[in-house]
Amino acid sequence: MKPEDVARHARTAVPLRTGAPWQRALARVVLAAVLVLPLWELGLRRLCFAPMEVVPGLGSILAPGVEIRWAIEGDGASQWNAAGVRGAAMPDPQAPSVLVRGDSFTEALQLDDDDTFPVVLAAGLRAAGLPLPVLNAGASGQSLPDYLERAASDRERFRVAWTVVQVRDDDLERAAWDESRTHFARAADGSLRLEPVAPPPPARIGALLRPLTNRSALFGYGRMRALEFARAARAEPPLFSATTARAAPAPRRDYPIEDEVSLLNAAWQGRVTVLYLAVFDPERPREPASDTERRLFAACAAQGGSCVNLRESFPEFAARWEAPYGFANSNWNTGHMNAAGHRAAGALLARELVKTLAP
């Protein structure tokens, strides 16, 4: 081929790269998304997949029949049924049962089913000749007023022989008096009453995205992260402030713990056990960590209620240099209860309930 032929050929040859630059860029984006997103979806489905559904009468519950995965803190797989109870099978509404109400510590997405304290409790009761099913109705973000609000409907839905209510300090203090949700309030006569607050309707955008967030871990976890970022942004300190060297601590509010315990016992006609999750300090395992803890157990004793303190197991934890809270992929003694904590809570509850329920 002569040089002039080569030049002519070069002019007429079809270029290897076709299309405008923006078309090539778009093709790259699409191709990259096709390659990357499925891999992320697979990875995140293993790491965190917890779709929610709104069920009339129950509110927002973990989607029934879906395997919930949670490996951000701990590593657990669980299934939840349409009654908002942990387990694949619907509970028998006619069978007498023990109902457990609590927050994310009871929900325990960080653990597999067998490691949670309601299952340990059920095993303990069975071993003592009390084969009662234990229904885990733990739900993240709930608090004591929520459990009280549901007490009547729980009795209608299940044949509740006994109720266990898991609380931490916050459930008796700030969260119980948060006026943006169902909370405690003082009646005109000074007595304590429950002030129900209807949950806000789900945001329209949330409802629109629900089919997507419920089917895809990528979108579900992405939505959760977006909410976390928004929360963190709201918590940032104000700009252009004149900060003082040492801000005085806010005065501590005095919460009527004794009245709360009384209301709780009344709501379940005394057929309730409070499981209190105390703060663990390995150097002072026996010492109550807060005034609320002291007052709760004093009120319990005075009112003849049934209360179990996880602290009872703390000397053993301290002796083993083990913590009831925290996971290897999070932090030691911080965050949710680990399997050892659940085992201890289940054993303490079994001991208490065997004593209470034994004929």
Binding site: V36, E236, F240, A242, T243, A245, W321, A328, W332
Partner: protein
């Protein structure tokens, strides 16, 4: 307003858009100066006045030094500048420390006299901007720098927000010559700056912040953890402080690049150092060179014999330690490094320049030493330091055997980063042939550019499919795994 907070992203985008819209250089500089003041005032508007006061003092002194013909007058003005700057730094940073120590000494002597402790906040970035402005007058005094042409140029230099709070410590001799260039975002600047910013952000929110959750409880209550767990906590802090500080520096350099300025490199794979002297050539480079040029060399450096050299090293590092904060722990940290530098110099002198320790062994020993020095640096007091060191060295089994699994991927990431960085370093040092050897980065849309001030910079790109996949996955990783609470950078407290 910290670099990893959503507010900063809004601030930066608005600034870049505004810089693009303003036509004249004067207008852009005015806008940049205003933005820098806004950035600083966002933390606490009252201390903006202090920043402007320190800047003003050094501007006046610099002008007087340049105008004076008499050496004594020049000297008087530079002394004024240094004394005024150090007095302000001393009052805000060290008054409480010295008053507290004085009270303790008086109590030991049985005196009932008590010096009142002033209640004040440490102004953000004061250690950095005082050193920066001091170097301006000292350089003019040394005739190594002409004074800034206009107050606007000078104020832009002293308040330049990317490096204002936590460095790198930029000298006027590096920054002022760039003032004539046209600033504002361009595609090239944005790509380079955003690449650096992304790398820095990754170090901060994906590595440093999660590792803080491991290290903080261990240093807070070391008596709760076994010796083995504390070793892991120490490893976590070693990685955390590097990723936190170098992450900030990367973000600062990246922001400056996007605006149109070059800042000096502050870190160069410090945990690959073969000895402690090399460590200080790789760690917080702008501080170590500042201390070398404005403290060690004026003290006499190595010009007056071995004993004086060791003393100079010790003084420099003790003061370098004190620069980090008003605490005896920082002084001890500086003292340890000073002693190690002196020892290294003595051993090297005794064994001769040709003596070489096998590189892996040298890196391991240096890293171990640096890690152990972080113990007093991070501990709240000497009691905690003693307790941690005791448990580390005795491998005390009493305490929780906590194995934080998160630590290991973070260690692997930092080791990978150091390995890639060292490979690029070696290639760039070989010259054009070496840079050519980095062609393997191109399929990933990335390349390496050399920069006379910032060293080399890896630029990421989305021009290829692997590049798009890499950058996309990287961004998704930040969205999904970054710590959400915008936690302050460690060096903000210094």
């Amino acid at each position: 307003m910290i670099f990893s907070s959503p507010r900063f992203f809004v601030f930066m985008v608005l600034l870049l858009v505004a810089l693009r819209l303003v036509r004249s250089l004067e207008g852009r500089l005015s806008l940049l100066l205003f933005a820098s003041c806004l950035f600083y005032a966002a933390w606490d508007w009252r201390y903006l006045g202090l920043l402007l006061l320190v800047s003003g003092i050094n501007w006046v002194c610099g002008a007087r030094i340049a105008a004076a013909r008499d050496a004594r007058v020049r000297h008087a003005w530079v002394v004024t500048s240094v004394v005024a700057s150090l007095a302000i730094l001393g009052w805000f940073k060290y008054a409480n420390f010295f008053a507290g120590n004085l009270n303790a000494a008086l109590a030991v002597l049985g005196s009932g006299v008590r010096v009142p402790l002033p209640e004040m906040l440490l102004p953000a970035g004061i250690s950095f901007y005082v050193f920066k402005t001091m170097s301006y007058t000292i350089d003019i005094h040394r005739r190594g720098l002409a004074p800034a042409r206009s107050p606007m140029n000078y104020a832009t230099f002293t308040t330049f927000f990317p490096e204002l709070i936590a460095g790198p410590i930029v000298r006027a001799s590096v920054f002022l010559p760039q003032m004539g260039r046209d600033i504002g975002p361009s595609a090239e600047r944005l790509r380079t700056g955003a690449s650096l910013f992304l790398i820095g952000l990754t170090k901060k929110v994906l590595i440093a912040d999660p590792l803080a959750g491991i290290a903080d409880p261990m240093f807070g209550a070391p008596q709760h953890f076994s010796g083995m767990s504390l070793w892991m906590g120490l490893a976590a802090y070693t990685v955390q402080i590097y990723c936190d500080f170098s992450g900030y520096s990367d973000m600062a350099i990246g922001c400056a690049k996007m605006i149109g300025y070059d800042l000096p490199r502050n870190f160069r794979m410090p945990y690959m150092s073969g000895d402690v002297a090399e460590f200080w050539r790789r760690w917080h480079i702008t501080l170590s060179t500042w201390l070398r040029d404005y403290l060690y060399i004026p003290l006499g450096g190595n010009r007056y014999g071995a004993a004086r050299t060791y003393a100079n090293l010790a003084i420099t590092m003790l003061l370098g330690g004190l620069w980090h904060g008003a605490s005896w722990n920082f002084v001890a940290w500086g003292g340890l490094h000073g002693a190690a530098l002196a020892l290294h110099r003595a051993v090297r002198g005794a064994l001769g320049e040709d003596f070489r320790t096998p590189r892996p062994l040298a890196i391991t020993v240096t890293l171990l030493f640096v890690m152990l020095c972080w113990v007093p640096f991070r501990s709240p007091d000497f009691a905690a330091t003693r307790e941690i060191l005791r448990r580390l060295f005795t491998l005390d089994a009493a305490g929780a055997h906590f194995v934080p699994v998160l630590l290991f991927p973070c260690l692997a990431l930092v080791a990978l980063g150091h390995a890639i960085g060292s490979a690029i370093d070696a290639a760039v040092e070989r010259g054009p042939d070496g840079v050519h050897a980095l062609a393997w980065l191109r399929p990933f849309g990335a390349d390496v550019v050399k920069d006379p001030i910032s060293g080399w910079i890896v630029r990421l790109g989305v021009g290829t499919l692997p590049g798009m996949v890499l950058v996309g996955s990287w961004l998704l990783a930040i969205v999904f795994f970054a710590a959400t609470g915008a936690s302050p950078f460690i060096y903000f407290q210094f």
